[in-house]
């Protein structure tokens, strides 16, 4: 027994003295407010105070905490309360998985130093990673507390108001329940045994004997899958097994499932299991997979080509050949890890007659249901998915992970089963952003008007299809950028390899394509002697223009406005760069610019959302909202939209979110579709409910509603009527479905792929140390057309987070299977890596969207990387064609350790 004093209360706990304190707090004491994102000191999610000083609880042996005062996020403390309020007011908690660690780190600082400056705040938060917020709102929240100006809780939740997220309170209290935080007491633990080889055959020995010898309840393998041992995103490509069948295609593929007590499954050495491996040469990267003699990884994909994407408009080749100015280049990007701080986790509960309930973190409950039901061999209705809070997703939790494994285990044992991925497991097995090799060409006329664009792009989709086809189809539509380009020829391939499966990651291939295209736009500007802003403004697509898919943009096409909003910032940046570089040799500034566009929702495919809203006779008003909030704030935004449309305050609205047994299908949380598609459905449902109420009350359109218990007051200019809800025959309910109008693409990619697009432009200021090749992004100014900012606070949070991920993508993030499978070697930006960010919101309303709104989630990420690359080029004269721009890569291009000569060619460039 170890005695621990946590938040002033003494506990006796029976734990291995060596067990990490984080485990003991969570499992031993049930204090799950302390999170575990890596168990290796790399993420800081487990930060607690030990004798008042912040520590990673995952690095403290339980015995070492004996007798010490431990403070966790659950503590009752006035300073902590102030921090909580500040975090809410600033939007500093998005998914909230990092929030307990952030709060504890901040508490540690403020107790040591009541008046810290920004630098001190960054220093103290430097050990806690956040993947959602881009840190700035967190830093501001801590500074607000230090300066004693925490904003009072906002009460105005109408559309357009910066309203703190409605699901924020549990996130700052540490009471939010994520995938790993709760499970039935009698749940068995499941641990997957994964292939350490990228390509291998294997045979299994006597699993029953191994089970008995290792003290396990069961060892699961492919033979235990009751239905089809296959899953995958595409309806027609279920190419990934739940448990591999004698053959693995990537390192990290599940081979066996160990079931038993937590201790028993953890104690098994994989090497002791009866698996005989025959290692095969692995196809790493698309070049290997496309080689004529390459092994064929899937029978349905000759030549290892999963799918091709294609778009043709006009005659790009002929125009390129005849053009007065041309640019071309080959660009390479890396695997990028989502690095959500919450590893995949959840539990399954078996029921009668094939029923199964899965409670887990996810972005796509209805798709999880289909996948799980197929694996179990039961109808979809037998499976219920209850999403837990989701500690970050960014596309990575669109695919199933724990769900089919848990379902099989719970079916086989007929007992609840839980599972929590380790960080290594999460990184090795989950999908990544597709590495791309992009060969792009672009042409302009002598006035700088773009005339042609061509792209050949190969995307490494890894061992399984996942979202590969989506990437291959989305890229051709977007690749030429948000510009008027009459002649376009885009060809893409998604190629199977023995690398980690690539799937959906914020932007579905568009960020990669933007890196290539925006560099070519800079090339054309340079060739023409034009300013980089000017060339973009001249070609910016706008209302009435036709896209390469032949779609005419009728509304909400605010890129020209975005660029205009940035002009003054751009000029100021250029002036600053010129002044600085005139006198500095080694540390050089550079300014860069990039634009983007992004179609909201699925590419030319139906993607409806249905929302239901009910005013019950007991006076409860409930939105049955199937859209999972992965931290981006859809619950708040959709709630604001619904409440506004109904005419009641958001405070009156309760929500049931994402439970497939209770909510209608609102589709997946991806592709910037929830505000736009689900928001619109919620608006329509709420309007319908309002119409019913007004009809009941016989009131006119402009009537004001107010709800007090079961008394609903309806007042218009003439009369005030009070409806007693109790007296109604039935609850008032309304449902609406919205499917954005699209037109299927023909063989040449012509059609209406999306109902609306988000647009944005960013300018970036960087400081390059030309002796070391290091890049510090000093400032980013964003102009983004969001249609309508339903909640500017949350929009800013999405933009900051997108910028942070774009910065990581371009400067440091590189997932290498088998080598960067932890947050030690795989680097994401920390609190100290963020630039200042300023935002110009452009609101060019989208008539299809709710109150004019459209998606914001992905656009912010897309222009950041190319804007930074443009700035690096401005500072150094080097056009980087491979990301991330690690210091050694930049130095290779700068050519040696000596500072480059002055003046750089880039000084003429763009000024």
């Amino acid at each position: 027994m170890t005695a621990l004093t946590v938040n002033g209360t003494r506990h006796e706990v029976d734990a291995d003295p060596f067990a990490p304190l984080s485990d003991t707090l969570r499992v031993g004491l049930g204090l799950t407010g302390t999170k575990e994102g890596c168990n290796a000191g790399d993420c800081g999610a487990c930060t607690v105070l030990l004798e008042g000083a912040q520590v990673c609880a995952c690095l403290v042996a339980t015995a070492q905490a004996e007798g010490a005062e431990i403070t966790t996020v659950e503590a009752d403390d006035p300073l902590l309360d102030t921090l909580r309020a500040a975090f809410l007011a600033r939007g500093a908690a998005q998914c909230g998985i990092c929030t307990p660690g952030m709060l504890m780190a901040a508490l540690d600082l403020l107790r040591r130093n009541a008046t810290p400056d920004r630098r001190a705040v960054e220093d103290t938060l430097g050990g806690v990673l956040c993947r959602c917020t881009g840190y700035l709102q967190i830093i501001d929240a801590v500074l607000d507390v230090a300066r004693g100006n925490v904003a009072p809780a906002a009460t105005d939740g109408r559309v357009g108001a910066s309203f703190p997220r409605v699901d924020g309170a549990p996130k700052v209290a540490g009471t939010e329940r994520y995938g790993a935080d709760a499970a039935p007491d009698d749940a068995l633990w499941l641990r997957a045994v994964r292939s350490p080889h990228a390509h291998a055959r294997f045979t299994l020995g006597d699993l029953d004997a191994a089970r008995d010898q290792l003290g396990l309840v069961a060892i699961l393998s492919a033979r235990d899958v009751p239905g089809r041992n296959a899953f995958g995103i595409m309806p027609d490509i279920k190419d990934q097994p739940v448990f591999a069948e004698g053959y693995v295609r990537y390192r990290g593929e599940a081979v066996l499932g160990l079931l038993g007590t937590r201790e028993a499954v953890a104690a098994v050495r994989d090497a002791d299991l009866p698996i005989a491996w025959e290692v095969l040469p692995a196809l790493s990267g698309v070049a290997a997979a496309l080689a004529p003699d390459a092994a064929q990884l899937h029978a349905h994909a000759p030549g290892n080509i999963l799918v091709r994407g294609h778009l043709r408009r006009g005659d790009a080749e002929a125009t390129l050949a005849a053009a007065p100015v041309r640019a071309d280049g080959t660009f390479r990007t890396s695997f990028v890890e989502h690095a959500y701080i919450e590893p995949e986790a959840g539990y399954a509960q078996p029921g009668e007659d094939g029923a199964m309930i899965i409670t887990a973190c996810t972005q796509a409950p209805v798709m999880d249901r289909e996948e799980t039901a197929r694996v179990l061999g039961v109808p979809d209705e037998s499976v219920r998915i209850i999403p837990t809070a989701c500690g970050g997703g960014f596309g990575g939790k669109l695919d199933v992970s724990v769900q089919p494994l848990l379902a099989v285990a719970a079916r086989v044992t007929n007992q609840p089963v839980r599972m929590v991925y380790s960080r290594a497991e999460s990184m090795a097995s989950s999908t990544k952003r597709h590495p791309a090799i992009l060969h792009a060409r672009m042409a302009a006329d002598a006035e700088g008007r773009f005339t042609a664009y061509a792209l050949e792009g190969d995307f490494n989709t890894g061992a399984y299809a996942s979202w590969g086809p989506t990437v291959a189809n989305r890229v051709p539509v977007h690749a030429s950028g948000p510009y008027r380009v009459p002649n376009v020829l885009n060809r893409t391939r998604a190629v199977y390899t023995n690398d980690t499966p690539a799937g959906a990651f914020r932007g579905f291939g568009v960020p990669q394509a933007a890196i290539a295209t925006e560099a070519l736009v800079d090339d054309l500007a340079l060739a023409l002697g034009m300013d980089r802003w000017e060339i973009r403004r001249r070609n910016a697509i706008g209302k009435g223009d036709t896209t390469p898919s032949g779609q005419v943009l009728h509304a909400s096409a605010g890129l020209p406005d975005c660029l205009d909003a940035l002009k003054a910032d751009w000029d100021a940046m250029l002036a600053r760069v010129a002044a600085h570089n005139a006198t500095h040799r080694r540390l050089r500034l550079g300014a860069g610019i990039a634009c983007m566009w992004y179609g909201c929702g699925n590419t030319a495919l139906s993607n409806p959302s249905t929302m239901r809203i009910t005013l019950a006779r007991d006076g409860t008003l409930t939105l049955f909202n199937g859209a999972v909030d992965i931290g981006q704030g859809s619950t708040t935004v959709i709630g604001q939209i619904a409440a506004d449309a109904l005419g009641l305050p958001i405070a009156a609205l309760r929500q049931v979110v994402g439970d497939t047994a209770l909510t209608p299908d609102a589709g997946k949380t991806s592709a910037s579709r929830q505000t736009f598609v689900s928001g619109r459905a919620a608006q329509d449902a709420a309007k319908a409910l309002r119409a019913r109420i007004l009809a009941l009350a016989n009131a006119g359109d402009g009537a004001r509603l107010s709800l007090d218990g079961t008394r609903l007051t309806v007042a218009d200019a003439h009369t005030t009527r009070i409806l007693d809800l109790v007296a109604l025959d039935a609850d008032l309910t309304a449902e609406a479905r919205y499917d954005p109008p699209t037109v299927t693409l023909d063989a040449d990619g012509q059609g209406v792929p999306y109902a609306t697009y988000g647009f944005a432009a960013q300018v970036a200021l960087v400081r390059v140390d030309t002796a070391l090749g290091t890049v510090k992004v000093e400032e980013i100014v964003v102009a983004q057309d969001v249609g309508r900012a339903v909640n500017p606070l949350l929009v800013a949070g999405q933009i900051h987070g997108g910028v942070a991920q774009g910065l990581g993508l371009v400067l440091m993030e590189e997932f290498i299977p088998g080598r960067t499978e932890n947050l030690h070697d795989y680097l994401i930006p920390t609190a100290g890596d963020m630039p200042r960010i300023r935002i110009h919101l452009v609101e060019d309303p989208e008539p299809e969207g709710p109150l004019g709104a459209k998606g914001v989630g992905e656009p912010a990420l897309v222009p950041t990387a190319p804007a930074i690359l443009s700035a690096i080029r401005h500072a150094t004269g080097v056009r980087m064609t491979e990301v991330p721009v690690l210091p050694h890569r930049l130095m290779e291009r700068l050519g040696g350790g000596e500072p480059p000569p002055i003046p750089l060619p880039s000084l003429a460039f763009g000024v």
Binding site: F18, A40, G41, H888, E892
Partner: protein, 280 residues
């Protein structure tokens, strides 16, 4: 399950170490990270542990007749926040760069040394401070210079019965030190390369200088040829001195963080920056 010892006296700790060879545990920031890395690929690791956290007198910094004694269990935060002369400026700068604040609050100087990682930020600083490590065993105490204690990539001269009890840093009146660390992000980052230096002037000329580079060889190395070239110079001349030939003791490798060629280039730049700092 293997035993977990948490003795309350040094004598008990040494007796346990002698009898069992249990693994010393200080801040645990390396040990727990290793445990997790191994568990991630199905290799559970639960060694017999000798937890040093309850042994008195192993932490804190004291001035002695010959210099300073830094207790083995002294944390990076303690080092960063202790009032120490400019001789320790480099070590203190390193203390603020080891991991994040959480790691600095737990990680210890002896843990850093015994881990003997090529990228251990403490090590080049200890080399240029001419530190000696104090090793205690049940029967005896001995001291070794850092360069002799570190025998190779993650290996040391620590004997099975020994624990590190302290580091000794000789006085070097009027000297100051500096540290330059290069990583691919601002916080929580393992060094791509680093440089540490101590310098003592007589009048306006360098009388003593000691320079070391880390993360560019299996063990951080002093650079004797560079030290010789710097001796006797005026501080303003120092930044121009380092040349590729001075890096001869280094054998950088390429890994996920950087290429070998880049490490050599960067080491040279860091050395020039380090020396430029002395010139200011």
């Amino acid at each position: 399950m293997s035993a977990y010892h948490r003795p309350r006296t040094l004598a008990d700790a040494l007796a346990i170490r002698a009898a069992t060879g249990a693994l010393p545990l200080a801040g645990g920031t390396d040990i727990h990270a290793i445990r997790t890395a191994r568990a991630g690929w199905g290799d559970p690791w639960r060694p017999e542990i000798l937890d040093l956290s309850a042994v008195p007198d192993l932490d804190g910094i004291a001035e002695t007749a010959e210099g300073w004694r830094i207790g083995a269990r002294t944390t990076w935060t303690t080092i960063a926040e202790s009032p120490l002369p400019p001789l320790f400026d480099g070590l203190r700068a390193a203390a603020r760069e080891v991991g994040g604040r959480q790691v600095q609050n737990r990680g210890t100087i002896a843990g850093n040394l015994v881990t003997a990682s090529p990228a251990g930020d403490g090590i080049p600083n200890l080399l240029v401070l001419d530190a000696e490590v104090e090793l205690a065993s049940a029967g005896a105490t001995r001291r070794l210079p850092i360069a002799r204690f570190l025998t190779g990539y993650r290996s040391t001269a620590l004997l099975p019965g020994e624990i590190v009890t302290a580091l000794h840093i000789p006085r070097c009146d009027g000297a100051r030190s500096r540290f330059e660390k290069l990583g691919a992000r601002r916080y929580l980052v393992i060094s791509i390369a680093m440089a540490a230096g101590v310098i003592r002037l007589e009048g306006d000329h360098v009388a003593d200088v000691r320079i070391a580079v880390g993360a560019c060889s299996p063990v951080a190395r002093r650079l004797p040829a560079l030290e010789a070239a710097l001796t006797g110079l005026h501080p303003s001349e120092l930044p121009h001195v380092p040349q590729p030939a001075h890096l001869a003791p280094l054998t950088p490798i390429g890994d996920v963080r950087a290429s070998a060629a880049y490490r050599s280039e960067a080491a040279l730049v860091l050395l020039r920056d380090l020396l430029a700092g002395f010139a200011r």
